[in-house]
Symmetry: C2
Subunit: 451 residues, 2 copies
């Protein structure tokens, strides 16, 4: 008889979304989950808000505990188990029980790899010092919170000006630290075009963050096993703690000897069904590549939304359904203090690389009718294909109630809408919610004159 | 030589959008606008916020004054001029100068009718009493504000539980009046399904509004030329003022003898170019019908967004371009105190009438990650076609940051997206903005199990 055992490697968003879906569809199937930490199904995206003490208890970030999965869902969750190797020929994996320090081989009928990603750090002296923090796992978040609580650091250097860097800047400012940020590019947020990134850079400075732009981490200065300064080519920046925001790497090193195909940034290649190149081996979440529906290229992007979606799709298919994950459009949103930043689709530099002829326009409007109290500024940039007018990307910066408007643009991008289509949309309007022309439509009206 | 004179009847959103567009494209063309009031281009939707004193000065609601149009745009705006008759055979209109009390015939080369709508009131004794207020024109709003200021009414009865009724309830509560609302149906908001309308009814009661449901205005009791009570079949409700929220009627009575074709509720029939059945006669805004893109039926709906859109389209075509207005999907949004209500598409009762087989689901989620402060409840109802899963309608009720999510559903409706398409959308997520599955996607995930 065929082995029907479902083994899942990784017990966070993607893995447990899949496990839950399979359990709903197949009440009697054996499901085993190996998770290297002691936590399952938590919101990694919530960690900055735990650090800032906006969220008081770490438990609030946990959607379901291992006990709950075991008892209510009869899913055999084994925490503190690290998977070291996958042998797809013999359909088995090598697992380390970190507490017992014992290794064993576990067989699978079907395997789902959902090992997530880890904050990237170059392999330099001090990268594993106790005052250097990635915050890609709940454990790392707890470590940082404890360190702030017990060691009362006064200064922080954040390396990298992406979403995590910005959210962590907010969190550390809220804890009263003096925050500096080292960023390779000339503006923070390299997921925005430079003109929009500059607005965010200026906003960060207004909040009191010292920006070191066009600088890169070269080494750490050490003092008593702790990092005492971040060294760039231009200077040495003394600091009490270092936070890594240099991007995420997929946790796929353990697959290096296997036959499972890797793609962009060594993320796992999976098709629209979330199947890998090997029969009965599936992958989902931050350890996989994602198809960008606008560029039609497979890229690596770590996103809670995509992890949940691909986990659900993998689980559905493992349970015998036929569901596909079409891909994403690169939508992301971020709050830093009073500012909101959102983006979707491609940047000007992406389009140049792809050789696509485009036009772009930027408008400044208001989040509400101009006469309604608390109408905030909102800056919208749209990029569209020359001639056809098809939307290719959108970027929004503003204050309260600005950013969520990106969702209309994400929907438009996914379904190939043109600027005229956007102008024609019957979007909601009342003075407390929007100007009569929604700012995304005002931007489309400006840009349509350029195509 | 052909008469190239553009005559526009009505100087608010639609008329002045068109006039401005024509002026941009045709700098030398003669443009004459006849406006019955002394105002142009104001936000009628802002009137409730002027009544509530959220907006302090009535001038804030005026986008551009007649003087500005005359001086900066060389548009010959003639305020206090009422158009009485259109003679399309002789291409002329009969106009009353209300100040000079003189009538004259004015010729046109092209005519745009943009006369808007008026708050409906049955023709009963007292409907024109000085303490009965429609608020469809700036003048009527100013009258109400003055009456509250000078006469200090203590109680108000609002007739009709639609958007305007709800917004006016908020405004009058904010001015300290005791507010009652008479509504024909068993719940307020008959643009929602009854299950969702009931939630709004309950919210209104929580705010202190006395609801008289399944009751209808029969007559007014009069005292010294003022209405002293609203009489229904069941009772007499004493009141100091009456506010009309019984819907809007298109201002088309002056067209009754003309050859211009009228449709739903006597609104002007116009094609996608905003042309009427008569050559060189155009129409736009609240005096016209609108094609509902979901039902494919022409309906009457008065909306500032549609007035601006159709005005722009009419203006473009009058100026020789070729632009089309495809229609709307019935999107609307409304705030009443802390509550937000939004809707788009069709209701269950619409679908029953059309004989379309549908399924529906309601979910309750949060506006932000559950652990993030100020995450508010949001209730989402989706309706989809049985089998195909095509979205047919959406309704949202919630508190802060709930309602604008309707825009994704409006976009989805316009472009025939299915529930699976909605689930697949790459919507923005970060804990301050949304749960990882946006509430509209959570609703789609629930409903897709029913198709």
């Amino acid at each position: 008889m065929q082995n029907n055992r479902l083994v899942i490697v990784g017990g966070d968003a993607a893995g447990m979304s899949a496990a839950s879906k399979v359990r709903r569809e197949q009440p009697d199937r054996e499901i085993v989950v190996f998770e290297k930490s002691q936590y399952t199904s938590y919101s990694a995206c919530g960690i900055p808000y735990f650090i800032s003490e906006t969220v008081k208890e770490v438990e609030e970030l946990i959607v379901r505990s291992p006990e709950e999965f075991r008892e209510k869902y009869h899913i055999d969750v084994r925490t503190m188990h690290l998977v070291l190797e996958v042998d797809t020929d013999k359909k088995r994996i090598r697992v380390l029980d970190k507490e017992k320090k014992e290794e064993s081989w576990e067989e699978y009928g079907q395997l789902l790899i959902a090992t997530g990603g880890t904050a990237f750090c170059p392999d330099i002296e001090g990268h594993d010092a106790e005052n250097v923090f990635g915050i890609s796992t709940l454990k790392s978040g707890i470590n940082l919170e404890n360190y702030i609580e017990w060691e009362s650091p006064k200064t922080a250097v954040i390396i990298g000006g992406g979403y995590i860097g910005l959210e962590m800047a907010e969190a550390l400012l809220m804890r009263g630290l003096k925050v500096a940020l080292v960023n390779r590019g000339p503006q923070v947020m390299n997921t925005l075009d430079p003109d929009m990134g500059e607005i965010v850079s200026e906003a960060m400075r207004n909040l009191g963050v010292t920006l070191y732009l066009e600088e890169e981490l070269v080494s750490f200065e050490m003092n008593n096993k702790r990092v005492s300064a971040v060294v760039t080519k231009k200077q040495s920046i003394p600091t009490d703690i270092v936070v890594l925001g240099m991007g995420t790497s997929p946790n796929t090193k353990f697959l290096k000897g296997s036959k499972i195909a890797l793609g962009a940034k060594d993320a796992i290649k999976a098709d629209a069904h979330m199947q890998t190149n090997i029969k009965d081996v599936w992958a989902a979440g931050d350890c996989t590549e994602t198809l960008n529906l606008v560029s039609k290229q497979h890229i690596y992007i770590a996103m809670g939304t995509l992890a949940n979606k691909t986990g659900l799709v993998a689980g559905s298919n493992i349970a015998g359904e036929n569901l596909m994950f079409p891909g994403g459009v690169g939508t992301a949103v971020c709050k830093i203090c009073k500012y909101e930043v959102a983006r979707t689709g491609l940047l000007e530099k992406d389009l140049k690389k792809l050789g696509i002829d485009y036009v772009s326009a930027v408008i400044v409007s208001k989040t509400r009718a101009h006469y309604y109290p608390n109408a905030k500024n909102i800056t919208v940039k749209l990029i569209a294909e020359k001639n056809s007018g098809r939307l290719l990307g959108g970027q929004i910066i503003g204050e309260e109630d600005a950013a969520k408007r990106i969702d209309v643009l994400a929907t438009a991008l996914t379904h190939n809408l043109t600027l005229q289509n956007i102008i024609d949309l019957d979007l909601s309007y009342a003075p407390p919610f929007s100007p009569v022309w929604d700012p995304v439509q005002t931007a489309a009206r400006k840009l349509i004159n350029e195509i």
